[in-house]
Symmetry: C2
Subunit: 340 residues, 2 copies
Amino acid sequence: MKRKHVGRQTVVMERPVYWTGAYSIGCTREKEGPLSPYFDEIAPDARWGEESFEKAEQKFFRTAAEKAIAKAGRHKNEMDFLIGGDLLNQIISASFSARELSIPFFGIYGACSSMAESMTLGSMLVDGGFAEHIICATSSHFATAERQFRMPLELGTPQTPTSQNTATAAGAAVLSRQAQSERDARICAATVGNVVDLGVTDSTNMGAAMAPAAAETILTHLEERGYRPGDYDAIITGDLGTLGSELLLDLSRQCGVELAGVHQDCGVMIYKGMKGMHCGGSGCGCGASTLAGYYWRQLRSGKIHHILFVATGALLSPTSVMQGESIPCIAHAVEIEGGR
Amino acid sequence: MKRKHVGRQTVVMERPVYWTGAYSIGCTREKEGPLSPYFDEIAPDARWGEESFEKAEQKFFRTAAEKAIAKAGRHKNEMDFLIGGDLLNQIISASFSARELSIPFFGIYGACSSMAESMTLGSMLVDGGFAEHIICATSSHFATAERQFRMPLELGTPQTPTSQNTATAAGAAVLSRQAQSERDARICAATVGNVVDLGVTDSTNMGAAMAPAAAETILTHLEERGYRPGDYDAIITGDLGTLGSELLLDLSRQCGVELAGVHQDCGVMIYKGMKGMHCGGSGCGCGASTLAGYYWRQLRSGKIHHILFVATGALLSPTSVMQGESIPCIAHAVEIEGGR
């Protein structure tokens, strides 16, 4: 058997795990941004016909999962496992969706790193011989996140300049043991994150809190895989935003690695040029929908060939913040190669 | 390669995954119960020298993980992954412990099913060749759970007769590719749960909500593995409590399977004979500490040889309850064989 654990944090798949289906959903704000043409679907509004924002978020999650399965040409009964999570307490978007989908379910929590955590676990279970197909999904919703983590929307509390706007979005990916098409991209390797905490306590500045975790995971990945940044067409962070992205470049430079030119950030891209978005987008759905929407299409069309998707998560809770704790963060990286 | 996916929900390990270390911590109430001699450690009180109950719960989690690793004769740097979660919002007990432990971390959320979810994922990653050693851990705490899910303790709200007492406890297990001793038990198979929801909306009657999920997973496991209940020395649910256990036996009987005699429940056992405990214990720590304490010792001493550990989780949140949703539940089952 080929050695599958390389260095401390990186695992390499023995045979490629194919990315056979993807689906990406945004909402009205995401429609105004430059990635608008790359979503598979845009919800008409944040309620999407549901009684509550929480139920709407479940609809985002469930729809993304169902339609990614359909795009892979499969039926939900062919999915061996659903691996997913979201930002809400007790990951209710994922759990309630799992109830409707009836697929054996692993609930995960990695805050905004959830899509990379899900795809990392999913790839290992497929490569390990435990599954033919796995559906990975995650979602976030501006209104449910504000209600839970910040202030009631009705108060109209001003946002700080370092804040980021939680994307109302979901992304899903089907991972398979066999390719469905020669255009299917492949998961080759993944780097599992350590929790990193440099002592940031400002919960309205998540980009700054998460940048060190992103830097640690990216530098570890490059070292353990023996790559330079230029070996990638894009090293894509989930949602560091403009400030966090600058910090990531600075931190990497201090370690002798230049990421400028190759680094892209879903949080920066999703609302680029839009007013009132401060440092950009955030939320599990931001990175997941950009990966399953924009990057899926770039890989399939052959415009890019080799990417590292690095989703970062801030593992704080309102309780931990109120108790004066700093913000522990994590980043998982998934290495993806285009088909053909 | 041996076929690893048997039926819809069950996976079978190609080679045994060894359970090489375990550690179990309880607190004052757990000390009064009949399982008292089987805990590795009893915390002196619910604060355990910390500023808050939440920080105390982190200490339970972290200590259980650290000492299970030591009991396996290993160092934390030898652990490839930490897989764990807890009941608190954003699983802060697990995440903050991961920060201190510095082990590449997968955060999971399965409510009280977390220990079985963690061991299922961990076994597959070891068998799949991605890890030599994995540490699985989970915790719960009466005071943090009451604060988050129910009423402030200071109000002295009476509990309903169907309620269960969240255990202040933690359990941890090291899973390894190689045995450390001929007495090490082995994980042979696991059955991954579907989310089951029969419409129970009473969040003070979790046993009733979770019993159908337990029944579904146990019956599926027996069918997919081709076993009868009598092939096990014990089929152990995590925390159905007295009422939920009765319902499990009834539901199974309706499907023609008699579990009486072989079924045991950690929630019933942990506070047996104690006053004011209503339907018994609950919380991730209840099943995890009973498995890592009592059952670990029974397996190692050869008193029992073949068990099915079925941890059940109620995937509700206070928000979903307030929005009138019923309680989706899940149960994962881990099949364990004693050493020698």
